[in-house]
């Protein structure tokens, strides 16, 4: 499939945004994403100075603290052509920087520039590379968790499904009540742990209804939440980031 970017032309330069959870817990998802982007013709670099997007502080009301994270990340990615992250929620946070700075300020201009070139991984492949079939194959019956920030705030609704539909051997089953939050919510999961528990249990019961043996998602935080509850309960459902499936060539 030929995308928007013609083969043989200059390679698309991508600065990879791993996110904290990706860096610490989900290195495999990051590796898979980088490998796939390269397969699709991108030149991937990793600005090593990147830290956290600041969302934990922002959502907890610590906006002065968030500002420091924002300024740092704006500087880190200032020279990038595209910034591609593997979590819809963290990518949205980079977009949200625009609202942290005074209207018309220089920092706000720089934040806008960052927003305009920053994409979630599946969104980037579909919207910028113009590719829907990445040539993956994977044998499983899977369902997909639509994370709230990615769908509602970032507005990426279709891209992951388009990509997953074209994975050979993968049977996708609709997740009932997929619009419901999994109960993560950052500090919500520890501050309101008992409410969060009810939410994740409800999510898992819907996942079980699908009889899928694999749960996919595009947000490490939601996957950590759902996955952590699934392993605690010993349920036979594997949890993976979509990058791992999209980079698979059936050799697992």
């Amino acid at each position: 499939m030929i995308g928007n970017i013609q083969k043989g032309a200059l390679k698309v330069k991508v600065s990879f945004f791993i996110t904290c959870l990706g860096d610490i817990f989900y290195a495999n998802a990051g590796k898979a994403a980088v490998e796939l982007l390269e397969r699709l013709g991108c030149e991937v670099e990793f600005p090593d100075a990147q830290t956290c997007c600041g969302q934990p502080a922002y959502n907890s009301g610590y906006h002065k603290e968030t500002l420091e994270a924002a300024k740092h990340m704006i500087e880190v990615f200032e020279q990038s052509e595209y910034v591609v992250g593997i979590s819809g929620s963290c990518v949205y946070m980079l977009h949200e920087y625009v609202h942290l700075f005074k209207d018309g300020s220089n920092w706000q201009k720089r934040a806008i520039a960052l927003k305009e070139k920053t994409y979630e991984f599946s969104q980037f492949i579909v919207e910028i590379l113009g590719i829907e079939d990445v040539g993956a194959s994977y044998q499983a019956v899977a369902t997909y968790h639509t994370s709230c920030h990615m769908t509602r705030l970032l507005g990426v609704k279709e891209a992951p499904f388009k990509l997953l539909e074209n994975v050979k051997g993968l049977k996708m089953v609709d997740l009932p009540y997929r619009h419901d939050c999994c109960g993560f919510g950052g500090t919500f999961s520890v501050k309101m742990a008992n409410i969060s528990e009810q939410m994740v249990d409800e999510k898992i019961s819907h996942i079980e209804e699908t009889e899928a043996n694999l749960l996919l998602g595009a947000d490490g935080s939601c996957l950590m939440n759902i996955g952590g509850r699934i392993t605690r309960q010993g349920k036979p459902v594997e949890v993976k980031h979509i990058a791992e499936i999209l980079n698979s060539r059936g050799d697992e």
């Binding site: 791993i18 290195a27 956290c52 959502n59 906006h63 603290e65 939050c181 919510g185 309101m192 605690r232």
Partner: protein, 476 residues
């Protein structure tokens, strides 16, 4: 605080909610029905987003010029012979209403549904001077005879009760003998209440929307009780929250259309009753005397702040109907007559953070509320603003959290510190790890690991892998 309901302690209220299986079952099925109806009604229009945009513009303009429109409204009402009382507090409103009631020597008051009268505890004030106040909305009526069980939802106040429970309440209190069929229960209430409408001395209503240009106000109902209350008693009192107003009839069209679709998925409810002044001389039915009470009660504190959009609310409860937190804890857990996302935004504003400091945190910020709001109030963003205020202005966050966040600030804007911290993660967590997961974490992680495993940090961070790979010649 009159707005407050139930147990004082937030955690206890939440636990009680989570353990109430009957309530949760009732809430889950109610939410599902209401969600589906709203979605179908929005989709059917085909251009719902345009309707929302228009709703937002109307509400925004009106609240920005609230002084003008309230002035116009009061002039028009007075021109028609109605009386207008501006009440800065609930107490002032209640004093005025009591005075009217006493002047009329009224004993029996029939009331249609009104959240603002709940907010100011008007019923209690009137009962205190020996009046009988009868709630005539079916949901409110059920709660009233069940020892004043508080409402758990702003549109369907008895949503937390199932039909068997309602049957039992009717049986115990009113010697009801029939089954739990909703039709039979409703018919029973119809017969009981009909007599009350005919003999009430005063009718009291809330107000969905006042119309400034003509001094009118609209009541949006399905049951017909508000029509009864405004057609039969000789005196009528209408109590409105000061922001419940639109400039003119053309705007009334939009907000009513948004309200009925967003609240219950109906194109219009059975009755939209738009009243303008007392009855005219050549009319037989309708009130001879009309009083409008406009209530501030904390609303003006919100004007001109970052929370002003909360005053755009048209009380449809769409946000409540999609909220997963509400679904699991129920309305009473919020401790306020305004539950759910809008309640979590409004309650601390109308009251204070001492009373409602937990509510802004009772949200996973999933944004479902913001997505459905028919007038585009950014509800989840308002919750974040509350958190910010609690941290920055009120200094009510815990010391541990402040220290943690200061540490966070240091780490995130220093690449070196960040790299060190993330490199430490696998080592720091090793003592807690079993197989590939952490099942019992230290400190704040404990709240997580009480219910969930935490993955063990991978030995090689992503950034290490990337660096090594580059050293070995980079991409294959």
């Amino acid at each position: 605080m009159p707005m407050h309901i139930g147990e004082k302690d937030f955690k206890k209220r939440v636990t009680k909610g989570i353990q109430d299986d009957f309530m949760r079952g009732a809430v889950r099925s109610a939410q599902e029905r209401l969600q589906n109806r709203r979605a179908a009604a929005a989709e059917e229009l085909g251009d719902w987003e345009e309707w929302r945009t228009l709703g937002q513009q109307i509400r925004s303009h009106t609240v920005e010029h609230l002084d003008y429109y309230l002035h116009q409204l009061s002039e028009k009402v007075a021109e028609l012979g109605g009386h207008v009382f501006f009440a800065e507090t609930g107490e002032e409103a209640n004093e005025y209403i009591k005075q009217v009631v006493q002047e009329k020597n009224a004993k029996k008051i029939a009331k249609s549904k009104s959240m603002v009268t709940e907010e100011i505890s008007m019923n209690e004030a009137l009962e205190g001077i020996g009046c009988e106040v009868i709630e005539t909305d079916l949901g409110e009526y059920i709660l009233q005879i069940d020892d004043h069980d508080p409402p758990s939802h702003i549109v369907a106040p008895a949503l937390h009760k199932n039909k068997e429970q309602i049957r039992d309440v009717f049986k115990e209190r009113l010697d009801y003998l029939k089954t739990e069929k909703p039709e039979e229960l409703a018919l029973f209430a119809r017969e009981k209440l009909r007599e009350e409408f005919l003999t009430a001395d005063i009718g009291i209503t809330g107000c969905n929307f006042a119309v400034a240009e003509s001094g009118s106000f609209a009541l949006v109902t399905n049951e017909g009780n508000a029509r009864m209350v405004t057609a039969l008693p000789k005196t009528q009192i209408t109590v409105m929250g000061m922001e419940r107003i639109v400039p003119g009839w053309e705007e009334l069209d939009i907000v009513v259309s948004l309200l009925t679709r967003a609240a219950v998925g109906q194109k219009l409810t059975s009755y939209i009753t738009a009243l303008t002044g007392p009855k005219q001389i050549d009319e037989a039915d309708g009130p001879e005397e009309f009083h409008l009470v406009i209530v501030d009660n904390g609303r003006s504190k919100i004007l001109g702040t970052e929370f002003q959009e909360a005053l755009h609310c048209i009380r449809c409860a769409a946000c409540i109907n999609v909220c997963p937190v509400y679904r699991h804890v129920g309305g009473h857990a919020y401790g306020s007559i305004y539950p759910g996302p809008i309640g979590a935004v409004l309650s601390p504003l109308l009251s204070d953070y001492d009373e409602y400091k937990e509510l802004p945190y009772a949200s996973s910020l999933c944004g479902a509320c913001t997505e459905v709001c028919p007038v585009k109030i950014p509800l989840h963003e308002q919750l974040i603003m509350h958190r910010r205020k609690i941290v920055e202005d009120e200094k009510k966050s815990t010391l541990a959290e402040r220290i943690a966040m200061r540490g966070f600030e240091q780490i995130v804007h220093s690449a070196n510190l960040y790299r060190t911290a993330t490199r430490m993660a696998p080592f720091l967590t090793t003592p807690f790890a079993k197989n590939n997961v952490i099942t019992k974490g230290p400190g704040p992680i404990r709240n997580w690991t009480d219910t969930r495993d935490l993955p063990r940090p991978t030995k090689e961070r992503f950034r290490d892998w990337f660096k090594n790979r580059e050293k070995q010649g980079g991409a294959v």
